[in-house]
């Protein structure tokens, strides 16, 4: 299901028995829940599992008003056929609306496949759309908008928080030079610039062939106790995305063809053509060989990543 269909349900006031919200864009997701709540004039109740509301619903009287149930990251229902069958039954929760919220939902999961018509994915909004939203509230230049989008990693919830800070400051001081305020806030820490993820930085250095930096960042990863298998797994997926992006020559959107997000495409594009396709394939094979080695005991886990880098770069 796409957001346009959901919007039409909201407009008509006719809702499906349940929806499945997923994707990283929290603000938009929450906004839709609020809209549904407003149209139905019901305050949503939050639960952790579908089992809980099953039990809760069974204790209600027949005259009970309709409800909106918001169930966040219920891992049980993902593999429980019985619960899924209860959800499907037409007599379950007749007048209610159930909204499952999953921060991450694998498309190969059987729950996803069974109910994919009810899934709405809220991906991070594209930069062009975010710029439009930012400019509605704050007169920032394009460059300022891009800077803010980058620092907040395209997360609109975070962008809104930072916009509020700037607007509050402007209200108190009377200043309206928003681009300058943004820079000052970034420099003095008022706007939170998250510490770079150690593994992300390491993987970025490897894929940009910054060898010395990669080894240094690998030490950082180990200092904070990141297991080799996790590092290798992230390296594998990023190498794969880089390969997909740099080898793609078609006309359709790469995000649809390869099933990767716009943010991943952006990252991969910044790493393209540093390795040839064959070298990226080799890297993925080396990573996988290291994983097999760790699991079978032929490669020592603590040095598995160095093993890959040594074979990659010689």
């Amino acid at each position: 299901m796409d957001t346009a269909t959901l919007k039409s349900h909201i407009k008509q006031g006719k809702f499906d028995k349940f929806y499945i919200f997923t994707g990283p864009e929290l603000f938009v997701r929450s906004a839709y829940i609020q809209q549904i709540s407003k149209v139905r004039d019901i305050t949503p109740r939050t639960f952790e599992t579908f089992s809980e509301i099953s039990r809760y619903a069974n204790t209600l009287s027949l005259l009970q008003k309709a409800s909106i149930y918001v169930i966040i990251d219920d891992m049980n229902i993902l593999s429980d056929d019985t619960l899924q069958s209860v959800l499907e039954r037409s007599d379950t929760f007749k007048n209610d609306t159930i909204i499952f919220v999953f921060n991450v939902l694998d498309k190969r999961n059987k729950f996803y496949k069974r109910f994919k018509d009810h899934v709405i994915e809220f991906e991070y909004l594209q930069s062009s759309i975010l710029r439009g939203y930012i400019k509605k509230d704050l007169k920032l230049s394009d460059k300022g908008c891009d800077y803010l989008i980058d620092v907040c990693e395209q997360d609109y919830s975070r962008i809104r928080l930072e916009i509020d800070k700037i607007l509050n400051f402007s209200k108190i001081t009377g200043r309206t030079d928003y681009d300058k305020i943004l820079v000052e806030f970034l420099n003095n820490g008022t706007i939170y610039v998250p510490p770079k993820d150690a593994i992300f930085d390491f993987v970025d250095a490897v894929l940009k062939k910054k060898k010395k930096l990669a080894y240094e960042l690998l030490e950082d990863c180990k200092d904070i106790g990141e297991p080799s298998l996790v590092i290798l797994s992230v390296l594998f997926s990023n190498a794969k995305q880089t390969l997909q992006v740099q080898s793609y020559t078609g006309n359709a959107k790469i995000t649809e063809v390869a099933g990767i997000t716009p943010f991943q495409v952006k990252l991969a594009s910044a790493r393209r053509d540093i390795y040839t396709d064959e070298q990226l394939v080799n890297l993925m094979t080396l990573v996988r060989d290291a994983e097999v080695g760790i699991k079978s005991g032929s490669v020592e886990e603590p040095i598995a990543v160095e093993y890959v880098l040594a074979r990659l770069w010689g």
Binding site: R108, Y248, T285, R288
Partner: protein, 269 residues
């Protein structure tokens, strides 16, 4: 029980069955059926236990309280946590009077040495292709299913899985991959794994069955060198699937890339 006549004979001839049995065999090889046979011999109920540490800790005092023969089955012990395995040690030190324990496992290396030394290890016999074919015939499967099963299945569980998939659908899918894996774009090609169970919570075809069927298709086309190499690549990766905890997604992706780059593939490692 096709293929395990000798094992059942050993069990039947045993005057006094051990209290702690480690039953070793592949998933789908019929270990549960053997456990049922043991329970029947003892005129005991077979209780399948969960293998989480809490379940094991709850099980042990219960086992000491039972007043008549009871068989507890602990399936797939390779997935058991170290704390759960340690919790089982008590049962092997002072076995309860009326309780019998059967652990099923794919390899004895997953069993703590202490547990292994206190238990009796029984191995499932490997199935021949004739036995697999007989199993499929016994279940009334079509000639086509019997033929495919005898070529690609190593255990009866695989035969049942093949039937559940629908042989036409499954073979059609493998053929589709076979025909297109080296034609699709690199950006797109990894999606061919979408119908394969690459994670625990996924639905889809068993990866081993998929690979074996793919190898069979290669075998049907052995006149071309490409397919000989494809079969070699797939066989090598298939051997790796015996390693527990392997990342199947990565394994599948690397297989795809190796197949597409077959001309430069070298069977090292």
């Amino acid at each position: 029980m096709i293929g395990q006549e000798k094992l059942l004979e050993v069990i039947d001839k045993c005057a006094k069955l051990p209290r702690f049995i480690i039953l070793v065999g592949e998933k789908g090889s019929g270990r549960h059926l053997v456990a049922q046979h043991i329970a029947k011999k003892l005129s005991a109920p077979l209780i399948v236990s969960e293998i989480g540490v809490d379940a094991i800790r709850a099980l042990i005092p219960t086992a000491y309280r039972v007043t008549s023969n009871t068989v507890y089955l602990l399936p797939d012990v390779e997935n058991m946590s170290p704390s759960a395995r340690n919790a089982l040690l008590k049962v092997t030190e002072e076995p309860p009077q009326n309780a019998y324990f059967i652990m099923t496992v794919t390899d004895t290396s997953f069993v703590l040495p202490t547990l292994r030394s206190r238990g009796t290890v029984l191995y499932m016999f490997p199935y021949t292709s004739l036995e697999i074919a007989d199993f499929a015939k016994q279940h009334g499967y079509s000639d086509e299913e019997v033929y495919l099963a005898s070529n690609v299945c190593s255990v009866p569980g695989d035969v049942l899985a093949l039937h559940e998939y629908g042989i036409d659908e499954f073979v059609k899918y493998v053929n589709l991959v076979f025909d297109n894996i080296d034609k699709a774009s690199t950006a797109n090609v990894f999606k061919i794994g979408n119908k394969i169970k690459l994670k625990e919570a996924d639905e889809g075809y068993d990866l081993r069955l998929f690979f074996r069927t793919f190898i069979k298709l290669c075998g049907d086309n052995f006149r071309q060198k490409k397919y000989v190499v494809w079969a070699q690549i797939t066989s090598k990766i298939l051997k790796d699937l015996k390693i527990t905890g392997l990342n199947l997604s990565h394994t599948f992706d690397v297989w795809v890339l190796a197949i597409r780059g077959w001309e430069t593939w070298t069977p090292l490692l």
